[in-house]
Symmetry: C2
Subunit: 225 residues, 2 copies
DNA sequence: TGTGTATTGGACCGTACGGTCCTAATTTTA
DNA sequence: TAAAATTAGGACCGTACGGTCCAATACACA
């Protein structure tokens, strides 16, 4: 709504993703959003906690715009979309030069044990994410082996990506994420019925190739704007 | 060394793994270790930061005792050891009932961007961990495909486990970790030459189309103990 | 014109934090 | 027994935190 509100939310999102929630003070946010003082801030948010919740929601919506939209894209083969989604996560991480991980993963690690309110909300975010992947896998079920467990696989994908982002941040090396992303694609391909997919396990480094005559070589940048 | 020192370290380790480093105050540690006052604490540690570093090292050594020792065990087949190692991570997590993740992953997420001193030390921990896995993979190379990239695979394993622990913590559901661990074993099995392993991936008929003459029809459970 | 809402600015409060200093009693060890 | 290290206890300091309260000004819209 209010222009100021989004301004505060934006500043807070940046700060929180850089230093975490606990280490981001209200005064920092005020400075970041160029407010006049505390009363100005508390005019829009009743507490720091509430600010955190809204940032989390907003962060998710942003991510949804960029990442989850790919998963829903109806014109592209579902499994190809999954690869593009993974590429998008890599691209997103590239923007911060390997620093600053998934905003959810960060908050999860910081607050999951300490703050039930955040834990529940983060859980919901992961769940929405996972369910999006599950429905994609359901859509792709003719291409997949019968016994593919969509719940498990979707969790695996998220866990691998979150873990990859974390390690990338620690090592300050983007190639870590790229390598894991490629391996993850191979793992997904392992579940594909047509063994054409199995092939990419060797020689094909660009694991984008999938069966069913799907378009290849789409550039990441064309998707992850 | 001193009995008190280890007592402080233990108390701090527990608190930090529960609430994170930033949210653990020196007073909390003093209370936890039943010290008389601050001067008593500062008699042993020159700062909270130094305490944190020592806790990190100690945490690693503990983990090494339990987890990494398995990776080195000379009497067991290397790939089997890898599976046992994964089981050990799951078991470790079970003890805290799904709460409290990998102490390294937690600290990594909390401090990687904010505190260079910790970042470097955590990176070193991951590196020691990864190198242990790499040397295991080197030992197992006769069983693996020629093109297996040990660096990449070791990173993938760590990332998947860290991500899994994180998600388990968020969902407060240990079965998440168990599922991911099982999938991770399948992923590793994918790199095995004689496909004792490969097969988890079921009734693929067209044997000829796959490279390296992979055999089929072995049960997953025979591999994934 | 008037009424509400947004904005500014600052004083203030209680609490917690990391850290220092000082004194004195107790235990260890040479 | 004397010196050295450990334990104890508390006062204190500067800073930062989340949050409240208040008074005054700007600006919208009806």
């Amino acid at each position: 709504m209010s222009d100021r509100r989004t301004q505060i939310l934006d500043a807070a999102a940046t700060l929180i993703s850089e230093r975490g929630f606990t280490s981001t003070s209200v005064d920092d946010v005020i400075k970041g959003a160029k407010l006049s003082g505390k009363s100005h801030f508390y005019h829009y948010f009743k507490s720091k906690e509430e600010l955190g919740y809204e940032v989390l929601n907003r962060q998710f919506e942003r991510f949804a715009e960029r990442g989850l939209a790919i998963l829903r894209e109806p014109m592209i083969d579902p499994l190809e979309r999954l690869n593009l989604f993974i590429d998008a996560v890599v691209a997103l991480q590239s923007e911060s030069g390997g620093r600053r991980g998934s905003p959810f993963g960060n908050l999860a690690a910081e607050l999951a044990d300490a703050h039930e309110g955040f834990r529940v909300r983060i859980e919901a975010v992961f769940e929405r994410w996972a369910s999006q992947i599950r429905s994609l896998l359901w859509e792709a079920r003719p291409q997949l082996h019968d016994d593919v467990d969509a719940v498990r696989l979707s969790r695996f994908i998220i866990a691998a990506l979150e873990g990859a982002v974390l390690m990338t941040r620690v090592k300050r090396d983007l190639s870590v994420l790229e390598g894991i992303a490629a391996d993850l694609k191979r793992f997904i391909a392992m579940h594909v019925r047509d063994s054409a997919a199995m092939q990419l396990h060797r020689n094909v480094e660009d694991a984008g190739s999938l069966p069913h005559g799907i378009a290849r070589h789409l550039s990441v940048s064309s998707v992850a704007v």
